[in-house]
């Protein structure tokens, strides 16, 4: 596992990133309806001033170069709809909220998914196996936007145990993080079960048992490392999915996170916010995928990146 592989991968990504930025930039400029064609007709003077302020009066290539220059400084530009706010400020406010929600969901998913998967594999063909596997079919088939509202209906409106929406106390965090993590817990549970079953039937596990190791040590020390490989490889798509799922979860529960901002801006056609947020999502997903691949290489001696 070398530095060269990482570099190689970065080099492959550069043209993709370049294409995405260019495509999105020109989509913004040629979008039907400019950012200031709002409900009220603006006086021509105001329009010119606005255009000058946002550099919309410069030739196109200059705007394009300016966007790259700003991007290089990490500046994603001003919001067209929220006066006096930059995309960076919006992201700085909402990203921590989304990160907390996402990490919480991932934590649930790992905890419940992996442990139920291990138990199901060890107690194969008993209720310990059947019940989690049946529930996980639900989790895989039902989308976030069905599970979330049904949970609200049951636990917030019906039983009145938890708040319907908002993001203030820990109680507000329970339903959203379960909603977001449920599908991933389901997948992880199945992957862990499959991975563990495969490993547990191998010769080196028999050897470990034969030399008299305790069952706990066989499972935790010898089987888990190999059995968790499919789980690790699934984490990349899982993180991408949790980021996407946050769009829905944050909308359902009115959470002031990045996902809800992205959806709102998309509905309001706040082009710069949409683009800035989307680029951030791309970057996050790319980095997470890379980290997951590195983790995979560290855990599986058969994989060598060159």
């Amino acid at each position: 596992m070398g530095l060269r592989w990482l570099l190689n991968r970065l080099v492959v990504t550069i043209p993709v990133f370049f294409t995405v930025v260019t495509a999105v930039f020109f989509m913004i400029r040629f979008a039907p309806g400019g950012p200031f064609d709002s409900e009220k007709e603006l006086p021509p003077g105001v329009k010119e001033n606005l255009a000058a302020k946002y550099h919309l009066d410069e030739p196109l290539y200059q705007q394009y170069l300016r966007y790259w220059g700003d991007l290089a400084h990490g500046d994603l530009g001003p919001s067209f709809k929220h006066a006096n706010r930059t995309v960076n400020e919006i992201i700085a406010e909402s990203l921590p909220v989304s990160a907390e929600l996402g990490l919480l969901a991932l934590f649930w998913a790992m905890l419940i998914g992996v442990s139920s998967g291990i138990v199901a594999a060890l107690k194969r063909n008993t209720l310990w196996d059947y019940i989690p596997m049946s529930v996980s079919i639900l989790g895989i088939c039902l989308p976030t936007f069905v599970i979330g509202p049904l949970l609200v209906l049951a636990f917030a409106i019906g039983l009145d145990w938890l708040p319907v929406a908002g993001w203030e106390s820990w109680e507000h965090r329970v339903l959203p993080s379960i909603t977001l993590g449920f599908a991933y817990a389901a997948y992880l549970s199945r992957l862990t079960r499959g991975g563990m079953l495969e490993i547990l039937s191998q010769d080196f596990i028999r050897t470990a048992r034969a030399k008299g190791l305790s069952e706990a040590r066989v499972v935790l020390h010898h089987a888990l490392r190999g059995g968790l490989l499919p789980v690790i490889s699934y984490l990349g798509p899982a993180i991408a999915g949790i980021l996407t799922g946050a769009l829905v979860t944050e909308t359902i529960f009115h959470i002031p996170g990045l996902g809800r901002f992205f959806v709102e801006s998309a509905l309001n056609r706040d082009y710069t916010v949409v683009m800035g947020t989307a680029l951030l999502y791309f970057a996050l997903i790319f980095v997470c995928n890379m980290l997951v691949d590195v983790a995979y290489a560290l855990l599986d001696p058969r994989v060598r990146y060159e």
Partner: protein
């Protein structure tokens, strides 16, 4: 294999995922092996095995029933989907409105029927887009091989890393929420795996005697691909297609739930669920009815997909 693909690409997370979740490699190999025996036997054998699978048959029957209703909706729906009646909002179920009315006094059952029509149509057409693009791309890459193949598949690997759903949202924002654009955009998010499957099949078929014979007698390439290669590579493609349809239906529902897909007064399951969420404290059935329709459809498609995979892959173990 996993080592090779990692070395070659680096972007192998998804392929590993698919191997784990779908056990793709296995059914691809299995189908190729069966095709060698007898081509008519494959389909009758597969049908026999499918019939023995109760869940898959339940899925098939449910989907056929649903498709029939969706096609007949304009004639059998009790009311139009967009006629409002503001003095009759949130009416409880009755003989006139079997599922009651919504916030604007529209008949819920009729909206559900017309919504199913749109959701199923998006699922079907977008999957067709993904099959056509994926199979053509994969077949070309597999057939020509060498440098062309390695570059074409490298592009696919790079594109796996893109979160397509964000690109679809951006497209919908900039070009208006046109439903034809939706078919196209959603189809284009799903063709990558299809291209990989088709390429693998074509690579295997290329070395078969009947293909070599066709090349020898000088059949032109486009004819060779369309008459000899693609029809023989279609088994795994069909299996993956039954998994693409629910994925696309879900994506459409996701976009419509967020308000970025189908636009009012039209409805799809996603937008019906979204308005059901707004009204769930007053009338939970507005949420529950489309949620059940969507869930049953997704279950059926998944069961059918699983059943087809087992039916076309007799060698696969039954774990």
């Amino acid at each position: 294999m996993s080592k090779l693909s990692v070395d070659a690409t680096g972007f192998s997370t998804y392929s590993r995922l698919l191997q784990n979740v779908l056990r793709l490699r296995r059914f691809t190999v299995g189908v190729t092996a069966v095709t060698q025996k007898e081509s008519s036997g494959l389909w009758s054998d597969a049908w026999r095995r499918l019939k023995a699978n109760r869940l898959a048959m339940f899925g098939l029957i449910f989907l056929a029933f649903e498709a029939a209703i969706a096609i007949l909706t304009p004639w059998i729906a009790p009311h139009p989907f967009d006629v409002q009646s503001l003095e009759n909002t949130f009416a409880n179920p009755s003989m006139a409105h079997w599922l009651g009315t919504d916030a604007l006094g529209r008949d819920v059952l009729s909206r559900l029927l017309f919504g199913s029509r749109i959701s199923l149509m998006v699922g079907f057409l977008a999957s067709m887009v993904s099959v056509i693009v994926g199979v053509v791309y994969g077949a070309v890459a597999g057939w020509f091989g060498g440098k062309i193949d390695s570059w074409m598949m490298r592009i696919v690997d790079v594109m796996y890393a893109l979160p397509f759903i964000f690109l679809v949202i951006i497209l919908m924002v900039y070009f208006g929420r046109d439903i034809r654009l939706l078919f196209l955009a959603l189809g284009l998010t799903q063709w990558l795996t299809m291209a990989r499957i088709a390429r693998g099949q074509v690579l295997g078929l290329k070395r078969k005697e009947f293909v070599e014979a066709a090349v020898t007698v000088g059949v032109p390439t486009h004819r060779l691909l369309s008459r000899h290669i693609i029809p023989n590579a279609i088994g795994p493609v069909i299996v993956y297609l039954t998994l693409t349809v629910p994925a696309v239906i879900l994506e459409e529902a996701f976009l419509s739930f967020l308000g970025l897909g189908v636009q009012p007064p039209h409805a799809s399951w996603g937008s019906l669920i979204s308005s059901g969420v707004e009204a769930m404290e007053i009338a939970p059935r507005l949420l529950i009815a489309p949620a059940i329709a969507l869930s049953l459809t997704l279950f059926s498609l998944n069961f059918l997909g699983d059943g087809l995979r087992d039916a076309l892959d007799p060698k696969g173990s039954t774990d």
